[in-house]
């Protein structure tokens, strides 16, 4: 690409990490509840409600962190309602998740109507002292929002939790064979609810990140499919946190490349560039799904299936 200077490349990398963090956070959350056997198609709706909850809190309190807390709480509450329906009432997980997505879109538009013109207070940019001043790597890697680093830590921590800790083993057991976990005396349903609410909270933080950091304003429907992309990502990553992170940055790169190309004056209508992330998701999904056996080996065995504890 012509005209790509080291400075603009550094900015591109920084923007990629920023965009990737949104989907990574949501996808890691969804990974937790999918590992426990629950598929929540409501990600988009939870993120939308969390985005407005976070934004409104940010506007009123001036604090990003309270905004994130509000987003997490909104996501967890909605996920909790979803969890009660699918885990205790055994409603269809697809339909209930869809209902959550549609409801969230309506609710966020409704609540957000008074916030469309609002602005967040000006906040300082984050930078890691010392490292941020390094040439190239400074602007590329060390001037990010703290959540960018926390997300990487979360992915590593989650890998350890799932593969090395006893609680993680129980979580996976609940997702692979709820009957066995139940027989061993584990409370399958409360564990699933906890996993669903944790997933919702992370989706909520992702939603709040969109309206507080990524594009700091409120626009109806501003999540723009990132919740669905996060859902696709768990499959793409075969339910492994490190691969989720990788996939999310890949997605972030595609999104940012589009802006870069528009900035470079590439003679492609902007609409086609905006399509790129969605088409990329389809292509990745096709590539990954071609081998059904591979998906089946990696997928939590009880994913999407209701569990009825015996007497």
């Amino acid at each position: 690409m012509t005209g790509l200077t080291p400075e603009s490349l550094a900015l591109l990398i920084a923007a990629t990490l920023n965009a990737g963090t949104v989907v990574a956070l949501a996808s890691l959350g969804l990974l937790i509840n999918e590992r426990a056997g629950v598929l929540n198609l409501g990600a988009e709706g939870m993120m939308l409600v969390a985005a407005i909850a976070g934004f409104a809190t940010g506007v009123h309190t001036g604090s990003d962190w309270l905004g994130f807390a509000a987003g997490a709480a909104a996501g967890a509450v909605l996920a909790g309602a979803f969890g009660l329906l699918v885990i205790w009432l055994n409603t269809n997980q697809y339909a209930t998740g869809l209902a959550l997505s549609l409801f969230g879109a309506g609710l966020s538009a409704f609540v957000g109507i008074t916030y469309t013109q609002q602005r967040l207070p000006e906040r300082p940019h984050f930078a890691i002292p010392g490292l941020a001043d390094l040439p190239f790597v400074g602007p590329a890697f060390f001037k990010q929002h703290p959540l960018v680093y926390l997300t990487i830590a979360l992915a590593i921590g989650l890998t350890w939790f799932l593969m090395r800790s006893r609680a993680g083993l129980v979580l996976r057991a609940v997702g692979e064979s709820p009957e066995s976990a139940h027989a061993l005396g584990y409370a399958v349903r409360p564990i699933r609810l906890l996993a669903v609410m944790t997933g919702g909270a992370l989706c909520g933080i992702a939603g709040a990140y969109i309206s507080l950091v990524y594009t700091p304003l409120w626009v109806e429907g501003m999540v723009a499919g990132k919740g669905w992309i996060a859902l696709a990502l768990t499959t793409f990553a075969t339910w492994r946190p490190a691969r989720v992170l990788l996939g999310a940055y890949l997605f972030g790169g595609v999104t940012m490349l589009q802006f870069q190309m528009q900035g470079q004056g590439v003679q492609i209508p902007s609409q086609f560039l905006t399509m790129l992330p969605y088409i990329a998701t389809i292509i990745v999904l096709v590539l990954i799904s071609r081998n059904p056996t591979w998906i089946r080996i990696n997928m939590p065995a009880s994913l999407g299936k209701p569990f009825h504890p015996g007497a």
Binding site: W88, N90, G106, Q271, T281
Partner: protein
Amino acid sequence: MFKLEPRAAPSKALTLASPLIALAVTVVIGTILFAALGKDPLAGLRMFFVEPLRSGYALAELSLKATPLILIALGLSVCFRANLWNIGAEGQFVLGAIFAGGVAMQATPDTGRWILVAVLGAGVLGGMLWAGIVAALRDRFNANEILVSLMLVYVAEMLLSYLVYGPWKDPAGYNFPQTITFLEATRVPKLMQGLRMNIGVFIAAAAVLGFTLFLYRTFAGFQLQVGGLAPAAARYAGFSSRKALWTALLLSGGMAGLAGALDVAGPQGQLTPYVPLGYGFAAIIVAFVGRLNPIGIVFSAVLMSMFYIGGELAQSRLGLPKALTGVFQGLLLFTLLACDTFIHQRLRWVGTK
């Protein structure tokens, strides 16, 4: 404590009553919501449940919303019965609108009435094409139809945006992102002077009849439903799951495309970035609330249209945001799913543990 236990047989009464209970719960929550917003709940409910039915004009407007909802939901009901989760009807609607608009723009003042058939046919084709991509990727590569169909919604909206901002922009349109207003010959004929209601209602009625026959009277419809309910049994009986996949997706895509064509050649009259009105998503709720049954879908589509018009009225007369519509629609599906669990299960008091 209470315990949920399976019923010996599904409750027939609850199968019918569940949507009504869900509606009642939604109304109760709506009343609380109106009160919380400082509006008179009765006035609020009137906008949603009385005003949309009060006059001939209101009913005609209702029909304009119910028609696309019925058409799309009929197609979706076949998909959902076959356990195929096409949730991208919105994108198929947009493609139908684009294809129909493309044909309609070719008309000259001398073009005969026949072109309307081509306009609607193109819409069906556009919708089928978009759903066909989903079917092909699922069939050939096992790609999840939920995610693919949904991603294609965004692609379709961008395609529409490109056309109306670019090559199809009306040169005399003061640079607004819109095509020319379609000529009279390409427009869906209205039924009465002064009302916007058009022959789309007859098409919807014919579709209801057609889908009733398909689902309950044809072998293909039967095979498709067995495949959805009991895939193993369908395989054992030799029913092709590939055929069911293509039939269901093409059928639902075609219906969504037809709805898109009727809407742009009807009330909208031109292509703009505002062609997608959310009918494709609302129709998912319509299909479920209507029990995936063609007659049920008619009732639930009318109800959902009342929510649409009620939302508009609440905005213009009570100063409430129009987005209330989406809140009510989402709530209705939520409560319906919860109520539905009691069709197959019942609560029983089992004493304290």
